[in-house]
């Protein structure tokens, strides 16, 4: 029995450590640990709730904006504020572009190197690569000369021994299985995707001033005033034209590059449709309201729960049933660590009890992570694109149904194949395509409103804190690209009294609970083959398929019971 440690898990956001036990070439047990903690919920207490979104947005910049949106929603929910239709649209357009950008970056820059051997590209025949690319897609950059050029660059890179960030990869690992031509095509698209995402995210610069960390949210709406006749309006016909133009590039890139690449890579690794199955329970809060925020039935991505891999039923979501364990996390509850606490009454007192650094192994029989263990009615839930696509599929959303059935037919696979490492990757790609099909329409909807004279972008009725009740509680839910995100806010005398966040990666990467139930990563790693314990490429494949975001996952909920020294004024 060998204990494998992967720390740092790279090509993710934040600091994640995986320890795994390997028996007979397969993982027999696994532990997921978040190793960084900041305490942002504590820091936002006693501050103006209208600005908390600026603070919480800094939880993470990879999925920037998700904590801004969830935060303004939580405060709006607490104070009973409805945002104007234009603000809803701007928020949806920002969110959709975040999904597209994030998912593209995830596939090419954070995940592809688990499946693509860069050095394999050297052996490719550029003419055959061109044939392969043209057989898959109408994407114009597909000539023999183009791939020869990319190959020459890779060759020069390898020969000059200037591999830089690629130096430490697991090149030549037996688990790499793409033919050289597919390797070369993927490397070319890795570079093209870098360019694509960089240009595409200018949508966020227009709608938020900058990316990362957009600066246009407001409790009650957005700052991006629109006017058909004002050249200095944050949004006017010229800037909407620009948004449409950039948004259109997404559909072309996703249809012609991302989707064909994902399907091509999946075709060579079909055994991964049978590996990496999570807990079998899937949660989606739903996203992209098409009307009021409370009208969840009209969300573009539906809300719902699937249990025990049974996609014949979709259960409703009750946020009140979310609760978090700290039994195996470096926190303590005043009433003992055995019972879970809902975030609305959450309590977290950080208390590190792990080994003194520097250490070699965690004591995984005790507490071993800065992540808590969220549960829904005591069930372990997987969140993310797979959960959303499954809930949409099971809810009969026609467009999603057609897309998913198309992929399953291509691989002659049953829907159960989706409960896997490759299923997560396929779901993420399909979701990217779904949103790239709709983002332009949403921009046009905004333009139509503007042209019809509806210029409302902010509801200022409750902007002045003197209009607020002395105390109020609310929550804001959102489906971030990585999964279900909830912010819970308690306001007293115009300031934040308590603030709590339950984040996608906490759901997925959290440790065991009081009942010993493993978190989704820990479950998904079971039975994963490990060909070379010194180079555990297979662990990265499954962990990366969830798209981990550890900076999001670790947080303090409440410091009840612990007094912090006031170190700074």
């Amino acid at each position: 029995m060998a204990r494998i440690v992967v720390d740092p898990v790279t090509r993710i956001e934040g600091h994640l450590r995986i320890e795994a036990q390997v028996e007979g070439g397969k993982i027999s047990d696994a532990w997921s640990s978040g190793t960084m903690f900041r305490g942002i919920e504590l820091i936002v207490r006693n501050r103006d709730p209208r600005e908390v979104w600026l603070w919480t947005q800094r939880i993470c910049a990879v999925c920037t904006m998700v904590h801004a949106l969830a935060s303004v929603r939580a405060v709006e929910n607490a104070l009973g504020i409805e945002v104007p239709n234009n603000a809803r649209l701007v928020r949806n357009i920002i969110s959709a572009s975040q999904y597209i950008q994030d998912h593209v970056v995830h596939f090419y820059h954070l995940h592809a190197l688990d499946w693509v051997d860069i050095t394999g590209a050297l052996k490719a025949d550029p003419a055959k690569t061109s044939q392969l690319a043209q057989s898959l897609s109408a994407w114009p950059k597909s000539s023999t000369a183009y791939f020869k050029g990319v190959q020459d660059r890779v060759k020069a890179l390898v020969e000059s021994r200037q591999l830089s960030l690629f130096t430490s990869g697991y090149w030549g690992h037996p688990a790499y299985r793409l033919p050289p031509e597919a390797d070369l095509m993927a490397v070319a698209h890795y570079l093209e995707a870098l360019e694509f995402q960089r240009e595409f995210i200018r949508i966020h610069a227009v709608l938020g001033g900058k990316n990362p960390h957009l600066q246009s949210y407001l409790v009650g709406g957005m700052t991006t005033s629109l006017d058909p006749n004002e050249p200095q309006a944050p949004l006017n016909p010229e800037r909407l034209d620009f948004l449409v133009q950039v948004a259109q590039t997404a559909k072309t890139f996703v249809d012609q590059v991302l989707i064909p690449d994902v399907l091509a890579v999946a075709g060579f690794y079909q055994d991964w449709f049978a590996l990496g199955e999570g807990p079998g329970n899937y949660l989606s809060y739903g996203a992209f309201p098409q009307g009021g925020i409370k009208d969840t039935a009209r969300y573009f991505l539906p809300q719902g729960i699937i249990l025990n891999n049974d996609i014949s039923k979709v259960y409703p979501v009750d946020p009140g049933k979310v609760a978090e364990y700290v039994t195996r996390s470096w926190y303590e509850y005043a009433g003992g660590d055995q019972a879970a606490k809902p975030p609305s009454e959450g309590e977290t007192n950080p208390k590190y009890s792990g080994p003194k650094p520097p250490y070699e192994f965690l004591d995984v029989d005790k507490k071993y992570s800065w992540l808590k263990a969220p549960r829904y009615e005591d069930r372990v839930m997987e969140v993310g694109p797979l959960s959303r696509m499954l809930v949409a599929y099971a809810s009969g959303q026609p467009e999603v149904k057609a897309m998913v059935d198309g992929v399953l037919a291509k691989f002659k696979a049953p829907p159960t194949a989706l409960f896997s490492t490759l299923g997560r990757i396929a779901a993420r790609a399909l979701e990217t395509q779904l949103l790239s099909n709709h983002i332009v329409g949403w921009i046009e909807e905004l333009r139509a409103n503007m042209n019809s004279g509806d210029l409302r972008i902010h509801n200022g009725e409750k902007w002045d804190p003197s209009t607020w009740p002395s105390s109020a509680r609310g929550y804001g839910l959102f489906e971030a690209p990585r999964g279900s995100l909830g912010h819970w806010a308690e306001i007293e005398n115009t300031l934040v009294k308590n603030y709590q966040i339950v984040v996608p990666t906490t759901w997925n990467a959290g440790p065991r609970d009081a009942k010993g139930q493993r978190g989704p990563y820990e479950t998904a790693l079971l039975k994963t083959p490990v060909a070379d314990p010194e180079r555990p490429l297979e662990i990265l494949r499954t962990v990366h398929s969830f798209d981990p975001c550890l900076a999001c996952a670790v947080h303090v909920v409440d410091a009840r019971g612990r007094t912090y020294a006031r170190r700074e004024i």
Binding site: T10, T223, Y352
Partner: protein, 371 residues
């Protein structure tokens, strides 16, 4: 394997960067650094002959915002050129290797290239409770930062958290977080504040270093003057409306549609220095004021605690005299603003140049009118 790997000219050739792209990059960098145009040839020449130093990028209590900022810059593709300027050996968010292989790469740089590599640090460093709030490969952030930064030729702190502890250090600072300079007092750090840093400035610092073999002129916070020497307010595209007494009074009002001044909505531009309005973001596309929100002074010292609440107008307005509060400012009070420019001239610095492009560091007075 040698860690200094050929010249930039060779590297650019390998990466397929054209001469035209390179020339465009150099002229953007010269402009960002506020160097006179005649330096263009010197910069281009020096860059082409420069050895490519090794760079390692460490992430501690971070949100990866500075990493993402680097990946999302464009026009010119600064990130590409920066990648070409340096041999990037370690960067958790984007490197191929993980675990042991990743740590071996870092160790190799520290051992084989001591005194020659550049260390970039992102995120705060926790010092409370033995540093247990951030560990990588079982080691504390403080331990790693101390080892890597004390062996580096130069250290650059990118973003607010690495500079002064940033948001993580804000009251009540649950983890005892501090910036790099405070965590590892012996090392010389160039601080590139901002939340996140603007990669155009970071690239310019690296270009300056490669050209002149030293860091650009710095202010009292060890921030480069070319980026942090001027008030946002003085560079703001909405400044004329401030001078004319035209203010946004409510979110979404007529003034907000006409691009009027955001001072009354809490904009911190009159008290913040940064070249944000001119360098802008995402390929020069925009900056926060252009999208209708006030500046939050994200490049100012300890801005999270010092500049919040963010929607409260600045109590004193430079140019209006100390007794004039926000609510009194409007159409009737527009006199005296010319004094503002003169007041801030104190903060602007004329960079003295010695022979051979050697740049002398000058002591500067704080640019902020409240300092």
């Amino acid at each position: 394997m040698p860690l200094l790997k050929g010249t930039l000219a060779e590297a650019l050739k390998v990466r397929g960067v054209s001469r035209r792209e390179f020339a465009k990059f150099c002229s953007t960098m010269v402009a960002t650094l506020a160097l006179p145009p005649q330096y263009l040839a010197a910069v281009a020449d020096a860059l082409q002959r420069a050895d490519r130093p090794v760079l390692v990028w460490l992430e501690f209590q971070d949100c990866a915002g500075n990493t993402e900022s680097m990946l999302r810059s464009s026009n010119p593709p600064v990130a590409d050129v920066v990648l070409n300027l340096l041999s990037w050996e370690y960067h958790e968010t984007i490197m191929a290797g993980a675990g042991k292989q990743a740590e071996a790469a870092l160790k190799r740089v520290v051992q084989q290239d001591a005194g020659k590599y550049i260390a970039v640090v992102e995120g705060a460093i926790p010092t409370a409770d033995g540093g247990v709030y951030c560990t990588i490969a079982g080691r504390t952030a403080l331990d790693i930062a101390t080892e890597v930064c004390t062996h580096a030729a130069a250290c650059i702190a990118v973003g607010a958290c690495a500079w002064d502890g940033g948001l993580v250090r804000s009251n009540p600072n649950p983890t005892g977080a501090v910036g790099l300079q405070e965590a590892v007092p012996g090392v010389k750090v160039v601080n590139l504040g901002g939340c996140p840093h603007n990669v155009a400035n970071t690239a310019a610092v690296l270009v300056h270093y490669l050209t002149f073999h030293e860091m650009p002129a710095l202010d009292q916070y060890n921030r480069p003057l070319f980026a942090y020497g001027r008030l946002i307010h003085d560079q703001c595209e909405r400044r004329a409306h401030y001078d004319a007494g035209q203010f946004v009074e409510e979110w979404g009002d007529e003034g907000s549609r006409k691009g009027w001044c955001l001072y009354k909505m809490g904009c911190k531009g009159p008290d913040a220095t940064y070249n944000c309005p001119t360098v802008r973001w995402n390929g020069g596309t925009s900056w926060p004021v252009k999208s209708g929100h006030g500046c939050i002074a994200c490049a100012s010292h300890r801005f999270w605690d010092a500049m919040s609440p963010f929607y409260k107008p600045l109590p004193k307005v430079p140019g209006f005299g100390v007794d004039v509060a926000a609510e009194e400012i409007g159409w009737g009070v527009v006199g005296g603003v010319a004094a503002l420019t003169a007041a801030h001239a104190v903060g602007s610095v004329i960079r003295a140049k010695k022979g051979n492009g050697d740049i002398q560091k000058e002591e500067t007075k704080p640019a902020s009118p409240q300092s």
